[in-house]
């Protein structure tokens, strides 16, 4: 009946503390789930890569040929007759087989492989080596990874922010000329990025040669950091532009429609009636509630772009993971292929984790629902 004079208002800190706790809980749960997921994924890869024992046979043949070559090539064994030499080879092969646990059942070994794969101990490449000359698979992959992350990270962040801002703007200027242009251009995203890449190279590297056609940096690389960065940026321009062209219109179009639908929600109308400035309505009442699904669609887009990475990097001779896989397939270099798969599994799991955390931050329903 009578409102008390000192209504109990929870302090802001309390709300924050609750959110922090919930976020920690959510992150913990997600990490456990994702580690399980990666374990299962990598283990399945190991099972498949074993190809029902054929790999073991191949490895045995390989070990035998390596050892016999080493023994035959060794001058100190020149004196031995062929029987003794064969016995020596057999002994060494047995030793190597036992060292590699190849005499144990595959099931036991598979867990050993899993353990090693999870620790990124990916073994040695058969043919390929890193630029520094190492034959360790993880060294080869780690060398290429930053290049891929740089290219795709830049392109995707650019696509995300550009599309969200343009989509918001268009949802306000619904039916304008620009809006109609975007609608007309949306189907152009049916073509993949490398398709645009070919034309971009044709235009900007050959007809109007202002940008390099491929590679990551000028050869020889510039000495000082400033020029080096500038050169990398110049080399990035065309592949980034290609990805932008192939994705941006469809994402602007779909998000614009999405924002348009959500801007007729009751709470948006109520916010207008409250007399809030239109920038505030756009940010707080249209963008924030729709951010979670927008991020989801963005992640799906990102994953589909990963799969296009192989061809796109080839088109621009970009020294990234895509190019690496392409070369590894060409060389039949199994450890590198498996290693790349493991790295991709980690990358995917990591992006899902990031997505989950972002979800929890932008949508309280996820944050609070997960804790119950």
């Amino acid at each position: 009946m009578n409102p008390s004079k000192n209504p109990s208002i929870p302090k802001k800190a309390e709300g924050l503390l609750r959110d922090l706790k919930l976020m920690l809980l959510l992150t913990g749960k997600r990490i456990i789930a994702l580690v399980l997921m990666v374990l299962i994924g990598v283990y399945l890869t190991i099972l498949i890569a074993n190809m029902g024992g054929r790999v073991d046979e191949l490895r045995l043949v390989q070990i035998r040929s390596e050892i016999s070559e080493a023994v035959r090539g060794d001058l100190s064994f020149r004196e031995l007759d062929s029987e003794e030499r064969n016995q020596l080879i057999q002994r060494r092969v047995d030793l190597e087989v036992r060292r590699l646990n190849l005499d144990r059942p595959f099931l036991l070994r598979s867990f050993n492989y899993l353990y090693r794969a999870m620790r990124l101990d990916l073994g040695r490449a058969e043919q390929m080596h890193s630029d520094m000359g190492s034959r360790e698979v993880h060294a080869i992959i780690l060398e290429r990874l930053p290049a891929t992350l740089l290219l795709f990270g830049t392109a995707n962040l650019l696509i995300f922010f550009l599309s969200v801002y343009i989509a918001l703007w268009l949802s306000r200027h619904y039916g304008s000329l620009l809006d109609r242009i975007v609608i007309v251009l949306a189907p152009t995203s049916a073509a993949p990025a490398w398709f645009y890449g070919i034309f971009l190279i044709l235009f900007f590297a050959f007809l109007v040669p202002i940008l390099p056609s491929g590679g990551m940096v000028r050869a020889p690389p510039p000495e000082d950091n400033w020029n080096y960065t500038l050169s990398v940026l110049k080399h990035m321009a065309l592949p980034v532009l290609a990805m932008l062209l192939s994705q941006i219109f469809i994402s602007i179009y779909s998000w614009r429609t999405f924002f348009l639908i959500h801007s007729s929600e009751d709470y948006v109308e109520l916010a207008r009636a409250k007399g809030l400035p239109s920038r505030m309505i756009e940010r707080r009442y249209i963008l924030r509630p729709t951010l979670a699904p927008v991020i989801t669609s963005f992640m799906l887009m990102l994953i589909s772009m990963w799969s296009g990475a192989i061809i796109l990097e080839r088109t621009f001779s970009w020294p990234g993971l895509g190019t690496l896989i392409f070369q590894a397939i060409g060389h039949h270099d199994t450890p590198v292929i498996i290693g790349s798969v493991v790295i991709f599994a980690y990358l995917l799991a990591f992006s899902i984790l990031v997505l989950d955390i972002i979800y929890g931050i932008v949508d309280p329903r996820v944050r609070i629902g997960a804790a119950q």
Partner: protein, 669 residues
């Protein structure tokens, strides 16, 4: 003091649509004084929501025409430029309460921030100061300040509506516009909010403009009433005068069509439909449906003043000076519904029925059960109409779906015409489905939008093996005839969106009848329809039920609609039946405390309502996941006996002959 707070002069609003210009608001004139509540009453499509939008300038993009004068404290706010209007008028002087729904609040912003926002935007207050003020208004509308930092989805429907109300009051505006503030809420919650509004109006001296289609709710707060029809105000007068004796023929018919709890006279319906807002007639807009129509109605009627601040837009009152009294309103009386005596043949027997839904966590770990139907026993006789009454979440819809065979019962059984429902094989189940018809709540959603009426009606016949095209056609026509959609040729080739809500619901009823069922289950068949159409559909269902000797299970949350349309009532609460009796006995002598609360909260239109607050139980409906021990109603019950009601479940007792109630209060001392 004579200067009104708000004076609206010749307000007009029209929209441009693909098919033409829709006139939503057509020359409104009215005023609201300080601390006065004006109710804008009208059916859907009469322009009442457009009026709210027009006053606050929250307009859609396709406005074609927008003009008039709106004087707030003598200043024309229509003439202000948008930025001035936004800063000076919106929310600080006029605020809005939207229809209760999940969507009225931003789902990802804390409710306290949403309430306090206008203060830091318009008044430049610090966040802390604005939050303190938000805490004050929360207490005012009866929500604990603990909820300030919660999100909308953590609040119940009633609490969300209170928060929306708090938001409207936060800047102490002089006028609060409320657009259907309670129509989506349960009876008890609705009555609780109306109590709050009365108190706030008395204590803060705020003026209200309440927009609603619900005559009974409108009488809860109204000082004055403006009755709208097809974009115009047809009658404007004091609440006392309007509810007792409306002047306009539409007002009279509308009052006669309102189902009332405490009245034995059967409600009538208003024949016909409102005019198309794109092709408005040049004369009186109600003339087509008016029983008092005469030659002069071809001219647009001018508002006739009846007394001070009381006018009506009808030619019947034009020549009063000459004749001394208005022309008579001749109405053909609606025939009284006949009911046949109850048969004693049991059609459906329900024994100890439980329908529980499993809740899972992580997809496989069982987290508990939602006990939607939790131990229900009853018999339905052939040819009777029963009503299941209860608030949302009481399990009435789950019960209906279990009876329809859509959910398997968790425990207990349903016996239909001697067959156990869970023992039926696939073929028998199909036969059973033909014996039970289903009428859903939302007629538009119940009809496939891409099927013509002919196809929608022939589908059940095809499924149940009526191969002969001619026979199908004949049965479809007969069914349409029975629901009074004639001539059938006008309706058969149409798509659902071309029909009005009432017509769509008739098609749904025809579809449920076409296989000659023995029972029809109607889940809230009229709650989406307008007041004048409701009675029409209910009468139709009742007539068909009587004629065909059907059993009708009619599910509703609104006690006032059941009196003439059911023989017996079951009141449900928390998944159980708490009271069962014949209609008159139950409504006149409710025994269970919950039923008593429901009856007390159900308003009949009366100007006196505004003066008093209703007595209501506090609290919220019980959780179906963790129901309270003992009687489910004991936490809210004013008569709960400690140590008994909260421990042991009450048995079904018979305090009056043939009147059952599950309550410890009735046990022999």
């Amino acid at each position: 003091m004579t200067e009104p707070l708000l004076k609206v002069e010749d307000l007009r609003l029209a929209y441009q649509t693909e098919r033409g210009i829709v006139t939503a608001v057509d020359g409104l004139n009215f005023e609201i004084r300080r601390n006065e509540a004006l109710v804008i009453l009208g059916e859907s499509g009469c322009g009442k929501s457009s009026l709210a939008k027009a006053l606050l300038r929250v307009l859609p993009r396709n406005v074609n025409h927008y003009s008039g004068r709106v004087l707030l404290d003598g200043v024309d706010i229509m003439a202000l430029d948008p930025e001035r209007f936004r800063q000076d008028v919106q929310w600080l002087r006029i605020s809005l309460v939207m229809q209760a729904s999940m969507n009225a609040l931003n789902p990802v912003v804390r409710v306290g921030e949403q309430v306090a926002e206008p203060l830091w935007v318009h008044r430049g207050w610090s966040r802390q100061k604005a939050m303190t003020r938000a805490g004050e208004v929360f207490e005012l509308v009866g929500v604990s300040g603990d909820f300030l930092r919660r999100y909308p989805f953590e609040l119940s429907g009633g609490m969300r509506q209170r928060v929306v109300l708090a938001m409207a009051l936060v800047a102490e505006p002089k006028l609060v516009i409320m657009d259907e503030p309670t129509s989506a809420l349960d009876v008890l919650t609705q009555a609780g909010i109306m109590n709050r509004l009365k108190r706030i109006k008395r204590e803060l001296g705020t003026s209200f403009m309440l927009i609603t289609h619900d005559v009974a709710t409108s009488s809860e707060i109204a000082d004055r009433v403006a009755l709208m029809y097809a974009g115009q105000i047809v009658e404007l007068g004091s609440a006392a005068q309007f509810f007792a004796n409306p002047a306009h023929p539409y007002g009279r018919l509308l009052m006669d069509s309102v189902p009332r709890l405490h009245q034995t006279r059967q409600p009538d319906h208003i024949p016909g439909q409102p005019p198309n807002l794109m092709l408005l007639p040049s004369g009186c807009r109600f003339a087509d449906r008016c029983p008092a129509r005469f030659d002069r109605c071809d001219e647009d009627p001018l508002p006739q003043s009846l007394s001070e601040r009381n006018e009506v837009r009808c030619w019947l009152y034009a020549d009063r000076a000459e004749t001394g009294k208005p022309r008579e309103l001749h109405k053909t009386p609606t025939p009284v519904l006949e009911t046949r005596p109850l048969s004693k043949e049991v059609l459906v027997a329900v024994q100890d029925l439980h329908t529980w839904f499993e809740l899972r966590q992580w997809g496989f770990i069982r987290a508990g059960y939602v006990r939607a139907v939790n131990g229900v026993n009853f018999h339905l006789y052939r040819g009777e109409a029963v009503a299941f009454v209860g608030e949302s979440g009481c399990g009435k819809s789950s019960l209906a779906r279990t009876l329809l065979g859509l959910h398997p019962p968790t425990r207990g059984e349903v016996v239909f015409e001697g067959h156990h429902l869970d023992a039926l094989n696939k073929h028998e189940l199909k036969q059973y489905r033909a014996r039970v018809g289903y009428v859903q709540q939302d007629p538009y959603g119940a009809l496939p939008p891409f099927m013509t009426i002919r196809r929608a009606l022939s589908e059940p016949l095809i499924i149940h093996g009526v191969r002969d095209r001619k026979e199908r056609e004949a049965r479809i026509r007969a069914a349409l005839e029975e629901v009074r959609l004639s001539p059938a040729d006008d309706y058969l080739p149409k798509f659902p969106h071309m029909l009005s809500g009432g017509q769509q619901q008739r098609v749904v009823i025809a579809r449920s009848l076409i296989l000659q069922p023995a029972m029809i289950i109607a889940d809230e068949p009229v709650s989406m329809l307008d007041a004048s159409v409701r009675v029409e559909i209910l009468r139709l269902l009742r007539t068909i039920q009587n004629k065909r000797e059907l059993t009708l299970a009619f599910i509703t949350h609104d006690l006032s609609t059941v009196r003439h349309f059911a023989d017996r009532i079951f009141v449900m609460y928390g998944g159980r039946i708490v009271e069962a009796a014949t209609v008159d006995d139950l409504l006149d002598f409710p025994q269970h405390p919950y039923t008593q609360a429901l009856v007390a909260a159900t308003a009949d239109p009366d100007a006196e309502n505004a003066a008093q607050e209703r007595e209501l139980p506090g609290g919220e409906p019980p959780s179906l996941l963790h129901p309270p021990t003992g009687c489910h109603f004991h936490p809210r019950c004013p008569h709960a006996i400690k140590g008994l009601c909260d421990v042991e479940e009450p048995p079904e007792l018979e305090p009056r002959t043939g009147h059952y109630s599950a309550c410890w209060l009735h046990r022999e001392p």
